[in-house]
């Protein structure tokens, strides 16, 4: 159990997930001496569905992926992925080193046939009270057009089976809507996607449409995906902080202002604001799925809090229930020519 805060966040999140999912069983891979005390005085029924799998080491957060993979024996990450490979677990959720997790997962679980490189995918809420599937978020910073097409197919499967959108709209992230815009790989992917009849390809979409619900699936290379998602999260956090923080330079003190300074009113106002913006708060949709593998692997933010890490576990449960890897394999089989 790695991540920035280790078991102190992941164990309480695991207990929460067990409480809200009566069918769930969890294997906690990590140091029993750290984990056990955090389970003291917990509900016996929850504990009966939880098992500690000992691991001596964690992959260090700042290790280079190649080096982390070479020295991964005995780490909680490798043991967790081994449990998925052997069928003893149906998914792996990790807040650890992203590069190492992607590399190890690909090495151990292998890609689905037809997928050159797995992609990091997340599902973000949009203005239309729907959700948008976005990929790749950083697994591949250089993508050729074939990879973008594969991401589009995987994203469409996610939108259809996990988000529940019939005939999901698929778009490519670009810096303009005209066909002539953007990088070569994007323009080439557009031509291919336009000719796949089972994909509802709607064209290019720009960064300002990320939250508007203009598309159900947004496809991009890992560099652009990482930049757009992080920028969006940053902007929302900044605005939420402006709402929550007291405005020191406020000099007016009208009756209304005095009202707003009352503790109870402030609390109420904050609750109203959270209601309005809450679904855009990055904690609510933490967890990126490593899509395109023969097993289910979810990457949580390293700095995830308890609530956010539980959201990542919930994503794993959904992916298991909706049989995401099998659906992707079947769709690729149907869409792509056999020679690929």
């Amino acid at each position: 159990m790695g991540g920035d805060f280790g078991p102190h966040v992941t164990v309480p999140a695991a207990l929460q997930a067990l409480a809200s999912n009566p069918q769930l069983k969890l294997l906690l891979v990590g140091n029993p001496e750290t984990i056990s005390p955090l389970l003291a005085n917990q509900n016996a029924e929850l504990l009966s569905r939880l098992q500690i799998v000992p691991a001596e080491h964690v992959v260090s957060n700042d290790a280079r992926p190649s080096q982390a993979i070479r020295s991964s024996h005995g780490t909680s990450m490798r043991i967790a992925l081994d449990l998925v490979k052997s069928g003893k677990a149906r998914a792996c959720v990790s807040a650890g080193n992203t590069g190492a997790l992607m590399g190890l997962a690909k090495l151990m679980l292998k890609s689905i046939e037809g997928i050159e490189r797995p992609a990091l995918m997340t599902v973000i809420p949009n203005l239309k009270q729907q959700k948008t599937v976005v990929l790749d978020l950083g697994a591949n910073i250089n993508c050729n057009s074939r990879m973008l097409v594969q991401f589009a197919i995987m994203g469409a499967v996610m939108a259809e089976y996990v988000v529940g959108v019939a005939n999901p709209r698929v778009a490519l992230l670009n810096i303009g809507e005209e066909e002539s815009k953007g990088l070569d790989n994007i323009r080439e992917a557009a031509i291919t996607l336009r000719n796949i009849p089972t994909i509802n390809y709607i064209g290019y979409v720009e960064g300002n449409e990320l939250l508007t619900g203009k598309t159900d699936v947004l496809v991009c290379d890992g560099f652009a995906g990482n930049v757009t998602l992080k920028t969006m999260e940053g902007a929302i956090r900044v605005i939420l902080s402006l709402v929550k923080s007291p405005d020191g330079q406020q000099k007016q003190s009208s009756w209304l202002m005095k009202l707003f300074k009352m503790k109870i009113v402030k609390k109420w106002l904050l609750r109203q604001i959270t209601k309005r913006f809450g679904h855009l708060n990055p904690d609510q949709y933490n967890g990126a799925t490593l899509l395109g593998l023969r097993g289910i692997v979810i990457k949580s933010h390293g700095a995830a809090n308890e609530h956010a890490f539980k959201a990542a576990i919930d994503q794993a449960i959904q992916a298991i229930e909706k049989q995401v890897p099998d659906r992707i394999a079947a769709r690729l089989d149907a869409v792509l020519p056999k020679s690929e």
Copy 2:
């Protein structure tokens, strides 16, 4: 006078700019039959500082840059740039076709020695009540490391002379903070920047730091820059729209809620919110400078409203006052080896 709304936005904005800058003189390049009626009944002193320069055509918004440049004779864009080239105007502000403006401006005004390709730059507000210079925003979607270094130098000059920051911090936009992260051109530019003593290079910065004021200058290729800026603007517009729009599903009707439904209270609340968020509203900082040319060219959003277009004119005034092209030429001369 092009852009999405033409003189109906740009003329009132020009009048506003004249009113708030007593030294300013403006040449309005466009169709006199459209412009003249918009000047009727205006203050005589303002009109004395304004002159119409007739142009028969505008560059079409959807024309490909190469084609637009070939058939640019007699367009308002070409005539305006000619006025800058001949010294009759000291800057050109346009809401027209971005690609055509960049191509024509480069062709007619030429790049400063040492600059391979001009870059689109804007100045955005940040949380620390300071401003961040961001470039490139879309002029160059493929950038080598030399270009990124040139952008860094130009950005530092802007931060120093226009924003007014001594020894401005310069960062490269990347998808992680570790040295090993990102694309080859970014890593190469980092090595060069670290070795230029007059640049205060602070390393990589991620998209979530765009608004936090972690850096004074943020350098990236035009694709990433366009994605990050548009994503940020989109996120802020979405949140402002959520604040302003009535929440239809609100069922509670406490005394406090009733209070909030009073028109005067709503208006007051909106004013408070605007005070808090207003400086992040994209209209407030409309206008991207085409940096690296031997003249001053400002690109306004095509869809800019009156207020936003005036902000673009204000940027032009600042660039003139601070002698931006001369400062950049001098800095390049000092920083880059003569052989380049």
